[in-house]
């Protein structure tokens, strides 16, 4: 199992090494030591390997991830798994703002809390936060799912498109055009799948509420013409 010590090896070298891996590489589990809050660790991976990071990371960790499993045994700074395409990113601690921003696919699991703007402009990634999320979570989220086991901050799902948000705890406030929606059977099935994938088979789906778009911002209303 290759080990890379970021106390010695520069980030660019780590990322270049991971980018150079061939799909048939036998080096499928990488350990990264001493991240010490550094930025852009394990970004742009495009290969089904596991990268396990021992400690807290800075900004943009696991950005653009494709196929890889990236595990952070610590907390993560801003822009975690930004624009992720597929694979798994699992943070054992908290995540700062804009976790999963603009991400298209895969699964992002945060064991602790995520702060503001989690899943902003989401485009297909599934996010499971075991703690709480900050304000403006799911802002302009287009596709994908955000599951929150704790509470949600202010302006949840502001200007949301077709992403779904499931919250088990309280919601401080809903953003513009975001409404609570009925939890139908199909949503329970989907939520069950997401919770199972996040390693939460015991969590009961019936304790969640679903939020999504009222779709009132989609089209121009002639009644609003005076506002322009």
């Amino acid at each position: 199992m290759p080990t890379v010590d970021l106390g010695v090896v520069p980030i660019r070298e780590l990322n270049a090494t991971l980018h150079a891996l061939k799909p048939d590489s036998n080096e499928t589990h990488w350990n990264v030591l001493n991240p010490r809050g550094k930025h852009a660790i394990a970004v742009g991976l495009d290969i089904p390997v596991t990268v396990e990071i021992e400690g807290s990371v800075g900004y943009y960790c696991a950005g653009m991830n494709k196929h890889a499993r990236i595990i952070v045994n610590g907390s993560a700074g801003q822009g975690l798994a930004e624009n992720m395409m597929s694979g798994l990113v699992h943070v054992k601690g908290d995540a700062s703002s804009a976790a999963g921003a603009t991400a298209c696919g895969g699964l992002l699991v945060i064991d602790g809390n995520a702060s503001a703007r989690c899943g902003i402009s989401l485009r297909g990634l599934d996010i499971v936060v075991k703690g709480s999320v900050g304000h403006m979570t799911g802002f302009m989220a287009q596709a994908g799912n955000i599951v929150v086991l704790g509470d949600a901050g202010d302006a949840l799902g502001d200007s949301i498109y077709e992403a779904r948000i499931f919250v088990r705890g309280s919601v401080r406030g809903l953003g513009t055009d975001c409404v609570e929606k009925e939890m139908r059977e199909e949503h329970k099935v989907l939520l069950r799948k997401l919770l199972d994938a996040a390693g939460l088979p015991e969590t009961d789906v019936s304790s969640f509420r679903r939020y999504g778009s009222a779709r009132k911002l989609y089209n121009f209303h002639i009644d609003n013409v005076g506002a322009y």
Partner: protein, 298 residues
Amino acid sequence: MCGIVGLFLKDASLEPRLGALLAGMLGTMCDRGPDSAGFAVYGDEAQGNVKLTLRLQKGISPDAVRRAVDEAAGTPVGVVSHGTHLVLSVPSDEEGAARAALSRLGSDVAVVGSGRRMEIFKEVGRPDAVAERFRLAQMSGTHGIGHTRMATESAVTTDGAHPFSTGADQCLVHNGSLSNHNTLRRELVREGLGFETENDSEVAAGYLTSKLRQGQSLKDALQSSLSDLDGFFTFVVGTEKGFAVLRDPIACKPAVMAETSRWVAFGTEYRALVDLPGIEEARVWEPEPATVYVWERA
């Protein structure tokens, strides 16, 4: 961008290491603000004295300043030289006379801060070099705050470097930009406050000074600023006994805090905190938007 660091010690045995810890934190934030840097350290109190931190231009010698102040105060004043900065210890009741003598020396001398315990140092240049120049690592104290600046609202000058001090033992560092600072500055000037720069952050410092003068607590003064200041900000504020943090309601300027039984620390990024003793066991969290955090010494 800008970087902020702050450290408030609860364990007195760490006080000799305050400067060294703060210097390490400041150095980590170099790439967030390579223009200029500054820091304030709350060190020993000189009984019956007030400390004046001065910044000298090339045109004047520390000796000339000392002689002018000695004469005005009618007694030899304490002088500690730190490169371009000079810290004078003047008997409290001679502060007015000392300041008058300093202003007679003209624009070669600027008073950057004053107080019973606070000393302020700031300069243009890379933050690690600035800290080195002032020997921050050798300083001791109970708390300190520092700033690395990437200028947006005013020029890259020493005057524009943080921390800003507008009252005795008070200082503020700011990451962000304020949009109503000109209006607010005019109001504060009418109240009798003086400003040295056109900088928005100095107005935030002046605003807090004004509220504290009106008898508000540090916590209440910061709470009021949420309604009166318009813009983006993360503030870290120092007073003689206090250390406070506030983020605006949108909280787009990053901030991380950590606390152990021995200290409380602030960093714009977690990177700034990784060398603090016991960080592995610290409670680490992101301060909530529009929420005032205050720690005060007994």
